[in-house]
């Protein structure tokens, strides 16, 4: 069963082509990595999958749903962690969790999720009082509060220290073991190698390579990434 299908996706902003003829599929239960330099088209691809933007061309299906036409249903099945998205400064962790839980039909257990992400002690702290890593973990928790079948995690471990990063990796494997399909957007090659079953490398909006991290390691994934994407800025 396919969790995400992207077929010949094109997205342009004015004259600039952000995503150019990109196709890939993500299988159910897979951890799929979307790699690329800044501006390679990762976020535009994610936005189209999440139904936040309308593709200019191409076909997308997420759990069999059209992200635009079946938006309502999709929002129940897809959890999204966006980069650089904040919360109201004076909202506490627990309030944010309760609020987001109220949006979904069968939300996850708030206390359990806070515990897993090591936020229990911070439950009464306001958003602006959290550290960067804590904000990041809260945004992961909010992406998972609706018990999604598919989760998109954008720049998951940016801003986390090495220990927190490893904890987060273990956590991502945990939720995959619970049956959640995960699309990971990242530019950390170690993260992709460690977590992803398969990765796609985007370069200037085009799909430069796709395969398992082992298949793409020539001799390492990072070497392949640099060879495929270096050069033109």
């Amino acid at each position: 069963m396919t969790a995400i299908e992207v077929e010949r996706l094109r997205k342009r902003y004015g004259a600039k082509v952000a995503v150019d003829d990109v196709s890939f599929t993500v299988a159910e239960g897979e951890i799929f990595g979307l790699l690329g330099r800044n501006g390679a088209g990762k976020s535009s691809t994610v936005d189209c999958i999440a139904g936040l933007r309308v593709p200019d061309q191409g076909r997308i299906r997420v759990a069999g749903l059209d992200p635009r036409r079946d938006q309502r249903e999709l929002r129940h099945l897809l959890g999204v962690q966006l980069q650089e998205s904040a919360l109201p400064a004076k909202l506490t962790v627990a309030e944010a969790m309760r609020l987001f839980a109220s949006f979904y039909r069968s939300p996850a257990d708030i206390a359990g999720l806070l515990d897993m992400l090591d936020l229990t002690e911070k439950r009464n702290t306001r958003y602006r009082g959290l550290s960067g890593g804590q904000k990041q973990r809260l945004s992961i928790a909010l992406a998972l509060i609706g018990r999604p079948r598919i989760a998109i995690l954008d720049e998951l471990t940016t801003g986390l220290d090495p220990v927190a990063r490893r904890d987060t990796w273990a956590f991502v494997e945990d939720i995959r073991n619970q049956g959640v399909t995960i699309m990971l957007v990242t530019h950390f090659m170690t993260e992709a190698e460690r977590l992803c079953d398969r990765v796609a490398i985007l370069d200037h909006g085009r799909l430069a390579a796709i395969g398992t991290p082992a298949q793409l390691a020539r001799p390492t994934l990072e070497d392949t990434f640099v060879a495929l994407t270096a050069g033109r800025p």
Partner: protein
């Protein structure tokens, strides 16, 4: 939706500055006017200022508070984050409108109470007309606030726009000169808060407000919200 509205209400309660200007300051202003022995047109100053202060409340929450709040949600990508949940971004704006309207009505009740208990200003003799005019004044200012939020690129510029609009709006409401010149008053009848004070004053005196000011307020509400809905930038 209920929890969303309650959460927005809680967040407003955590903004002491907004509460001061919107809730406490209007009552203080009325009390200061009430201490004066001056009269205008045979009415004590507190009675003259009650409709003006009520217009002021709707500006503080509608034109100054709401657009900054909505714009900051867009700037912090909170609207975008909500767009990925089943709640969607429209509902949070609906919740903010509901909370703002409730606080405007509470502050108005507070001002009426201060006027009545402190300075023997009679309660509106046409209560239904007064309530109707108060709600219309609030929706007109909230509509204008939404329009600012729709157009302003960020929270700072939304705040600046609200401050700039405050002065002409409140001038025609009579904040600085309750007795405007006939020309200014005539122009003022076609501005939302000039119309609002006129309608409120008529209802206080016991008559159902004339249709014209109510039409001005209704038209402002509809035109501003419809334009805001068309032009709104979600990110």
């Amino acid at each position: 939706m209920r929890l969303l509205t309650l959460t927005e209400a809680k967040l407003l309660m955590r903004e002491p500055l907004a509460l001061f200007w919107g809730l406490a300051f209007p009552m203080v202003l009325l009390a200061v006017m009430g201490l004066s022995t001056a009269t205008i047109g045979g009415l004590p100053l507190a009675a003259v200022y009650e409709p003006i202060v009520i217009a002021f409340i709707s500006v503080v929450f509608g034109v100054q508070g709401l657009p900054v709040h909505v714009a900051s949600y867009r700037e912090g990508r909170i609207l975008r984050r909500l767009a990925t949940t089943p709640a969607g971004p429209v509902r949070v704006i609906g919740a903010q409108l509901a909370v703002s309207l409730t606080v405007v009505l509470a502050a108005t009740a507070g001002v009426l109470a201060v006027g009545r208990l402190g300075f023997a200003v009679p309660l509106p003799r046409q209560p239904a007309g007064f309530a109707f005019a108060t709600v219309l004044a609030a929706t007109a200012m909230l509509g204008l606030g939404l329009l600012i939020a729709a157009l302003a690129p960020n929270a700072r510029s939304a705040g600046a726009a609200g401050t700039v609009l405050f002065f002409p709006l409140m001038y025609f409401a009579g904040l600085w000169t309750p007795q405007l010149s006939p020309t200014a008053r005539h122009i003022g009848e076609f501005t939302p808060l000039g119309a609002a004070t006129q309608a409120l004053r008529e209802a206080m005196a016991g008559a159902w407000p004339h249709p014209m000011p109510l039409i001005v307020l209704g038209a402002c509400t509809l035109a501003c919200s419809a334009t805001a809905a068309r032009l709104f930038r979600w990110e």
